[in-house]
């Protein structure tokens, strides 16, 4: 008899425990659930934070942003943003007349092996003009923003760092995918006649060798450091101050009826990114010929393979005037202009034409 009573009491206690409000983290759906609470039905979702809050497990911090909803006897909190691996979160329920309930949830952080590397840097040539304007650094995976300049340096032959050679902008210059970083040299040290250049001089000196160094500490978008340091060593040639001149380009025209490549060769290396977007081939009918572009070694050739076979007739390569060399000299417009009035003449003319025939 006594045994029966004891078992009954135990069952009742278990039921009570099972029926008591409790906090559960649903890792599959990223939800914090205050369950087994009859009072849930009386709570308006917008007042859910009066009873149930979730915050980062740290003192004096505001609660997480998110939405509440009621389901059966549960008050559910859905955080607005995914939870951060490696962090702990504290969920607290304060039900009137009951002891507060608290649960701490730790989100596991998987082991992260570094795999991201610098794939390539443009310009690809190893001789750069003294007034080199920028580098494009391409990564194999998306990178984290906000730390770029801490991880890039320019060192001279002796291994000494060059003092502030680059333009450091809070709005780091990335592409949409976060895989290409644009690194400008400080224009104050390139443009002639500025106080910056007087104080620090130019960053690169003709005849010397330098290395652009990207250290391993730079983290990718997943928080992993780079798999390896990257180093591009180059020699410095004379400053390049002449505008880009279409007349110095050579065109190797393909034969009609083939899909052979059209190749344009430049006398000096060109800006890789701008070259990719500024040239179009216009066919005899006046419409743009579709196709793929490859940029050749040292950015000295533009190779165009059409989607369809070439037709006989007169073609035009339409060239945007933003097409630039390594020092930012553009078509008919040097980076620095000696006579201001010359700029006006061509301000609104944004393309030039290069004719060729397909026979």
């Amino acid at each position: 008899m006594t045994g029966l009573v004891a078992r009954g009491l135990l069952a009742a206690c278990l039921l009570l425990v099972l029926q008591s409000p409790a906090i559960r983290f649903d890792s599959g759906r990223n939800l914090f659930v205050l369950e087994n609470w009859a009072g849930a039905a009386q709570v308006r979702p917008e007042r859910g934070g009066d009873v149930f809050t979730v915050s980062v497990d740290a003192p004096n911090v505001p609660a997480l942003l998110g939405q509440y909803r009621i389901e059966n006897r549960s008050l559910i909190f859905a955080p607005q943003f995914p939870l951060q691996p490696g962090m702990s979160y504290r969920a607290t329920a304060k039900i009137a007349g009951a002891t507060p309930i608290t649960t701490v949830v730790r989100i596991p952080k998987p082991d992260v092996k570094p795999t991201t590397v610098v794939e390539r840097v443009f310009p690809s040539t190893n001789v750069l003009p003294e007034n080199q304007l920028k580098f494009y650094i391409h990564f194999s995976s998306p990178m984290a923003r906000g730390f770029a300049y801490q991880h890039i340096s320019l060192v001279d032959e002796s291994g000494a760092r060059v003092d502030v050679p680059f333009l450091e902008l809070g709005e780091e210059l990335w592409d949409r995918d976060g895989r290409r970083f644009t690194l400008f040299f400080d224009p104050g040290r390139i443009k002639r006649g500025l106080l910056s250049q007087q104080e620090l001089g130019i960053a690169l000196h003709e005849g010397k060798r330098y290395s652009l160094v990207v250290d391993k500490g730079w983290k990718d978008a997943e928080g992993r450091p780079l798999a390896a340091e990257f180093r591009k060593t180059f020699r410095v040639g004379p400053a390049e101050r002449k505008p880009v001149d279409l007349k110095s380009w050579t065109v190797r025209a393909p034969q009609s009826g083939t899909r052979n490549a059209l190749t344009i060769t430049f006398p000096k290396p060109m800006d890789h990114a701008i070259l990719q977007r500024e040239l179009d081939v216009v066919g005899p009918g006046g419409s743009v010929t579709t196709g793929g572009v490859t940029i050749g070694p040292e950015e000295k050739t533009w190779i165009f393979t059409p989607d369809a076979a070439w037709k006989k007739g007169a073609y035009t390569v339409r060239v945007g005037t933003a097409t630039a060399d390594l020092a930012g000299n553009m078509i008919d417009r040097p980076f620095e202009i000696d006579v201001f009035e010359r700029v006006d003449q061509n301000l609104n003319r944004t393309t030039r034409s290069l004719e060729f025939r397909v026979d």
Partner: protein, 365 residues
């Protein structure tokens, strides 16, 4: 006398109605819904609690109705450990967020911050505001009255659908002047300026003027130079933009000269030397004099007189340090990464110590 009073009353009523009408019209152009910000960078306030947000990733300017139009007599706002608190609200750690800009609502005195939650290209754009009690809340971007305008990607010659996708304009600064939003940007490909003036309310048919800004150094060399930060300011009763290039000189540009398709040369009025990039500028009056305060990456916070800027001759010859407008560096203001005006006597600054950011009001020097 009675007739005079009636006239005055009628005039005042008309003025009131007109201002109310303008207010209604401005926020009427904003439609409720989700503001699809791909990123949140440069901020500036327009009239009636409208917050302009530069979205560099999306290539747009957003106008958000903050519905924050209640005047406040607040004299301070302070949050120690701000980055940790904002990060906690967003469910992450302080080193996983970036605070991109700060703008104070001149009416409510609440500080608005544009924040990236996450560090990669898919980071979420968040706008938070902080009141005088230090309370931090997020603007509900899922349902907010807003409008946006697309910034045209300029001079992309290739129409063959090739290239151009990697090209973005980083919006470096915004200002609202004479019913236009001025936008300064820097391309991630070419070294050139784009200063745009976009009428507000936004009108898709009128994307505004687009002006090439040039920098002439010492009457000899000119380059098409990007503007890093700028401040609308009246010089000798002429609406002017005081702009700082990425290569540090301070120039003045008359707003009247900003006509579409034109080439505009800024007049250099100061050079601040090497290894430094200006961050923010504000103007204020103190003791009957006008001043400008400028924060920098490497040269602290500089103060210089804004009186008689029109009298400064353009710099046309190489000169030693502190060329042009004389300035002083404010020793008490260090590690300032964001600066905006709070009221006539105070500024809001965000300071950085390691990975931590604090926000506070400081007396204007």
């Amino acid at each position: 006398m009675t007739a005079f009073r009636i006239t005055i009353c009628a005039a005042l009523t008309l003025l009131l109605l007109t201002s109310a009408g303008v207010a209604v019209q401005r926020t009427d152009s904003l439609k409720a819904g989700k503001a699809e910000l791909q990123s949140a960078g440069a901020l500036t306030f327009g009239p009636d609690g409208v917050l302009f947000v530069g979205d560099s990733m999306g290539g747009k300017i957003f106008a958000l109705d903050t519905e924050d139009r209640t005047a406040s007599q607040a004299t301070a706002v302070e949050v120690t450990g701000m980055s940790e608190k904002i990060a906690a609200m967003l469910g992450t750690a302080a080193d996983q967020i970036q605070v991109n800009d700060v703008a104070v609502n001149p009416v409510s005195k609440k500080a608005y911050l544009s924040v990236s939650r996450g560090l990669g290209p898919t980071a979420a754009a968040v706008i938070v505001r902080i009141d005088s009690t230090g309370k931090i809340e997020a603007l509900p971007l899922d349902n907010i009255k807003h409008a946006s305008v697309v910034l045209p990607n300029p001079v992309n010659a290739s129409t063959g659908g090739r290239g151009g996708n990697a090209r973005l304009q980083a919006i470096t600064d915004l200002a609202f002047v004479d019913n236009r939003v001025f936008v300064a940007g820097l391309s991630n490909e070419e070294f050139s300026s784009t200063l745009r003036a976009i009428p507000f309310p936004f009108n898709q048919a009128d994307k505004g003027t687009n002006v090439e800004i040039w920098h002439g150094s010492h009457n000899r060399f000119e380059t098409n130079s990007p503007i890093r930060t700028f401040l609308p300011y009246r010089v000798n009763n002429e609406q002017t933009i005081l702009a700082s290039y990425t290569c540090t000189p301070l120039v003045k540009i008359p707003v009247a000269s900003l006509q579409s398709g034109s080439k505009v040369m800024g007049t250099t009025i100061a050079e601040f030397g090497a290894g430094n990039t200006p961050l923010d500028m504000i103007s204020y009056a103190k003791g009957g004099q006008n001043f400008i305060l400028m924060s920098n990456t490497n040269r602290g916070v500089m103060k210089f007189s804004a009186d008689g800027l029109e009298k400064f001759n353009p710099i046309t010859a190489q000169v030693p340090d502190k060329a042009g407008v004389p300035y002083e560096t404010i020793a008490s203001l260090t590690n300032v990464v964001q600066l905006d005006k709070f009221d006539a006597q105070r500024a809001v600054v965000v300071t950085r110590t390691g990975t931590n950011l604090d926000l506070k009001t400081v007396a204007l020097p």
